[in-house]
Each structure stands twice: as structure tokens, then as C-alpha cells.
């Protein structure tokens, strides 16, 4: 059922004319994805997804949608001039996925039925600050660069 919500939300994202409708559908997809992360016994990633993705990035998108004047865009056509090539490429990609998933059907064993663990956050924190410390610092540097880049790109006069 959750995957049904995600797929319907995904189809709504790419087909709605009004970008605000697409943003709301994307928020639905992100929340359903957080629920699926909970099903996969990953509560920390689910929390990060809700706070960061659905609560931060989508708010940023909605701000920009409000800033950019969409009244003209509502009267234009929805799909761009290369939509046929896009559909062909996506069908090729879909065929590739179907070929991979039907031919390699025995590769992935079933889920290990483990007990419900209560220390997922502790494990993530141990790994994040221990083994992946370098990547953590690099990610913070990346965010700094992104902030500077976004401010410079959106300025009126540099």
C-alpha cells in the first residue's frame, strides 16, 4: 500500500501542470518513503528524511515556486519539445530494469529476520563519527560551498 502511494505520488509529480501540485505530490512521496524506511528497520534515516527532505528541501522548492512567477507557465504546454525522445529513452531504461530483475531473480535472498533492535541511532552515530569521519567533514565542507554558491547565484549584482 505504501508503495502504491509512492508510485501514484511519483506519477502525479511528473504529470501535473501546476508545480505546486507537483511539490505536494513529492512531499507525499517523501513521507511514504520515510514510512518504508521504518519498515526496513532504519528509523534514523526515516527521521533524517522527514526533517531534512520533506521539511527543508521541499520548503525551499515551494519558496522558489512562489518567487518565480508561474502564471505565464500555467498557460504553456506541459511537455517539452523533446518528449518523444525522452519517452523512448525511458522505455529503454525500463526494459533494462525488467531484464535485470527477471533474469537475476535468485540473486537476492530474503531478508534476514532479525529482532527489532533499539540502538539503530547509536550504531549509525558510531559508524558516522568513527569510520566515516572523513566523509562527514567533507559533507560539511560541501554544504558550505553549496551555501556560498547558492547565495552568489541568486544575487542581483555580484
Amino acid at each position: 500500500m505504501l508503495s502504491g502511494i509512492m508510485l501514484i505520488g511519483g506519477i502525479l509529480v511528473i504529470t501535473r501542470k501546476n508545480p505546486v501540485h507537483s511539490a505536494l505530490a513529492l512531499i507525499t512521496v517523501l513521507l511514504a518513503q520515510a514510512a518504508i524506511y521504518l519498515m526496513l528497520y532504519a528509523p534514523f534515516v526515516a527521521g533524517v528524511q522527514i526533517i531534512l527532505y520533506a521539511g527543508g528541501i521541499m520548503v525551499l522548492f515551494l519558496f522558489v515556486i512562489m518567487l518565480v512567477n508561474i502564471d505565464r507557465a500555467a498557460k504553456e504546454r506541459t511537455f517539452n519539445s523533446q518528449w518523444l525522445v525522452g519517452i523512448v529513452a525511458a522505455t529503454a531504461l525500463g526494459g533494462l530494469f525488467v531484464a535485470v530483475y527477471t533474469k537475476g531473480n535468485n540473486i537476492f535472498p530474503e531478508h534476514a529476520l532479525s529482532m527489532v533492535e533499539n540502538d539503530n541511532t547509536q550504531k549509525v552515530a558510531t559508524m558516522l563519527y568513527g569510520q566515516y569521519m572523513f566523509a562527514f567533514e567533507i559533507a560539511s565542507l560541501l554544504l558550505l560551498v553549496a551555501i556560498i554558491g547558492a547565495v552568489v547565484m541568486a544575487k542581483k549584482r555580484i
Partner: protein, 105 residues
């Protein structure tokens, strides 16, 4: 009651592939630049789903940490992409992606 369909890793991977496909269709087909950026977020979410599904399969939290880094990277890229979008809109007064043809041969 007979037991329901057992949800294996393959189901999560197929769902991730379907989301990826929808995101690719959105990137290649839509005219509005904002919706193209949102489809890119959809693609990144599909990748995250794959990562977390495999992290569940093999035990350990490596996949989840990678997913956290992907979410961080998606935030940075969304910010910069939207900054570029605002600069583009200030010059051209439109969010039509067909208008981006100055480098076209």
C-alpha cells in the same frame, strides 16, 4: 488465514527502479525547470531506497550512512540548482527549459 506475500529485497529494488524510471521520465519530458529539479530529487530518493534495502539485507548500517550522505548532497544540490534557476529566471522571465538554447549548435 494464509500468510501474505513475503516482502523480499527484490520488492524494494523493483520499487526503487520504478521510482527511478518515473524520475527519469520527469527529467527528460517536462518543460518547467522546477519540475525537472523535483524529478531529480525523485531519482535520488529511489537510489536511497535501494541503499537502505541493501543495508537491511546485509546487516550493518553502511547503506544507511551512505543514504544520509546522499540526502545531504541532495540538499546542497537542490539549493544550488534553485539559485541557478532564480538567476535564469531573472534574465529570461520564463521557466521554460526550451529557452535554454544559447549553447545549441
Amino acid at each position: 488465514m494464509e500468510p501474505m506475500l513475503h516482502i523480499t529485497t527484490l520488492h524494494y529494488l523493483v520499487l526503487g527502479a520504478a521510482l527511478f524510471l518515473l524520475g527519469v521520465i520527469g527529467v527528460l519530458t517536462r518543460r518547467n525547470v522546477v519540475i525537472v529539479l523535483m524529478s531529480i530529487e525523485l531519482i535520488l530518493n529511489a537510489v536511497n531506497l535501494n541503499l537502505v534495502a541493501f543495508s537491511r539485507l546485509w546487516g550493518g548500517v553502511h547503506g544507511q550512512i551512505f543514504a544520509i550522505f546522499v540526502i545531504t548532497d541532495a540538499a546542497a544540490e537542490a539549493a544550488v540548482g534553485l539559485g541557478i534557476l532564480i538567476a535564469f529566471f531573472r534574465n529570461k522571465e520564463t521557466v521554460n527549459i526550451d529557452e535554454v538554447h544559447l549553447l545549441k549548435w
